[in-house]
């Protein structure tokens, strides 16, 4: 799949933003006064900024309100509703923390749950697609949740939780890489099965593209056929594992729990998260590529 920058920025920033909002909503930490203002402000900026980035890849973003209507069937619609509900539910909690109003925490817990639900909905947009075997697996929501958990914990200044989530993220990334690499082959779809020409009819055998249906790339090829140079996969995976997971897990254990340390660790984590998310899209193969003899 084409790794569109707007979608990568959206999923990474919104993921870490809603992760931070979940921690703040649950009261870990529970800052007061100006520290609360900056903490909540960071969470809201990341979440809202990510959501805004997601509208850049829309053909008609001015119609976005319609995307709130189809929650009964569409994970994208559920994500839209859940994200706005989360931001609304947490607003009074943020206000209470900032101004020291001491309002009850219950709404914060509801908001935290909605933040987690939003991340799950985002992941399910990808995981539901049977046409993209690499994504169509439980590791997709697990990874998105782990990224939000690890990134959110780092920004929330939760060393222990952050270290555990980062370690979990490493394990999940390794699992997703291993299973994902065999996912397309496991479906046993080839040009021959996709067209039926290899196995149906009087003449059966190896099928190959004789002539393409059009001379220059179309929307399908630009959007769904993307080849990553194999030599780039290994270093990018290493960056993803080391920066997103291993590094933060180690640094959270050895560095003192002060602001500059968490900021440094968050920057390292983000580099890894962007590398991992770029690979998530760039390495995903859509079955429609079979008709073009390409992946």
């Amino acid at each position: 799949m084409h790794p569109a920058p707007s979608v990568i920025i959206f999923t990474v920033l919104a993921g870490i933003g809603f992760g931070l909002l979940a921690f703040l909503g649950a009261g870990y930490p529970a800052p007061v006064g100006w520290p609360a203002f900056f903490h909540w402000g960071l969470g809201y900026s990341l979440a809202v900024g990510g959501l805004l980035a997601s509208t850049f890849h829309l053909g008609n973003p001015q119609r976005f309100l319609r995307a709130f209507t189809q929650w009964r069937s569409s994970w994208l619609s559920r994500e839209a509703i859940s994200s706005v509900a989360c931001l609304l539910a947490l607003a009074p909690v943020a206000l209470s923390d900032w101004l020291g109003l001491g309002w009850p925490r219950a709404l914060g817990l509801i908001g935290a749950a909605l933040a987690l639900l939003t991340i799950f909905c985002t992941a399910m947009i990808y995981a539901q697609l049977k046409t993209i075997p690499r994504w169509n697996h439980w590791t997709t929501p697990a990874l998105f949740m782990a990224f939000a958990g690890a990134g959110g914990a780092i920004l929330a200044g939760q060393s222990a939780a952050g270290a555990v989530m980062s370690a979990l993220l490493v394990a999940l990334l390794l699992t997703a890489f291993r299973i994902g690499d065999g996912a397309f082959a496991a479906r046993a779809q080839t040009l021959g099965t996709a067209t039926g020409l290899g196995t149906i009819g009087p003449v059966q055998g190896a099928v190959r593209v004789f002539e393409q249906p059009h001379t220059s790339p179309n929307y399908l090829m630009r959007e769904m056929i993307y080849l990553v140079a194999r030599k780039h996969i290994r270093p990018l995976r290493s960056i993803a594992l080391i920066c997103a997971g291993i590094g933060p897990a180690v640094l959270l254990t050895i560095l003192p729990p002060v602001a500059w340390a968490f900021a440094t660790i968050a920057a390292v984590h983000l580099i890894g998260a962007f590398a991992a998310r770029w690979l998530f899209f760039a390495q995903a193969e859509h079955v429609v590529g079979l008709y073009y003899g390409q992946r």
Partner: protein, 245 residues
Amino acid sequence: MTSLPTHTEKKLGLAIDLDTCVGCQACVTACKGWNDQGYGAPLSDQDPYGAAPSGAFLNRVHSYEITPPEGAAVIVNFPRSCLHCDDAPCVPVCPTGASYKRMEDGIVLVNEDACIGCGLCAWACPYGAREMDADVGVMKKCTLCVDRIYNDHLPEEDRVPACVRTCPTGARHFGDFADPDSHVSKLTAARGGYDLMPDLGTRPTNKYLPQRRKDSPDMSAPLAPLLDIQATGFAGWLDKVLGKI
């Protein structure tokens, strides 16, 4: 709206004959011609006369080569367009309800006024049936020429999809697959029409009719007859004389 109907009264669709299709691309042109002036936004092209022309089409014709274990290779032309699936994966993913399947005839359509152009329906379709229009940012797909098939202003023989009407070899057949006595149902039964990628559970309406078995010349020794040509008449005399020199 975005949920699929549990049942459709008709199942309108196409039976595409891979045996008769000659790959002339007339259906591609007719489809483009009809659909850039009728239903919804015109199918736009980008840089049509420049170095890198590109555009949205609702119908594409591939050409494949099958190499059997024995014998000569075979070329098959393979038209690809929306299959109007019973369990269309492009419909439930739509966040706005723009993508829908009609209860009365099973046609899958896009309400272009409600489409935000997110592209998720195209990701969900295994067959590459949907292409985004780069000009207006809405998703385009085969409408089964819904503005032709019910159009009383057209002569009756024209009330079929443009691709069917134009096909010079009659390789495309339009009809109701819910009616077992329809032309397309009988044709599909007689010819062993099949679904594309049935394991994805989309239950396509359109069917593909496989190639027919063909006679083939005896290829065991195709050059053997040339070895004992007996020349007669003047050529025979010449053959004899030249042989003695």
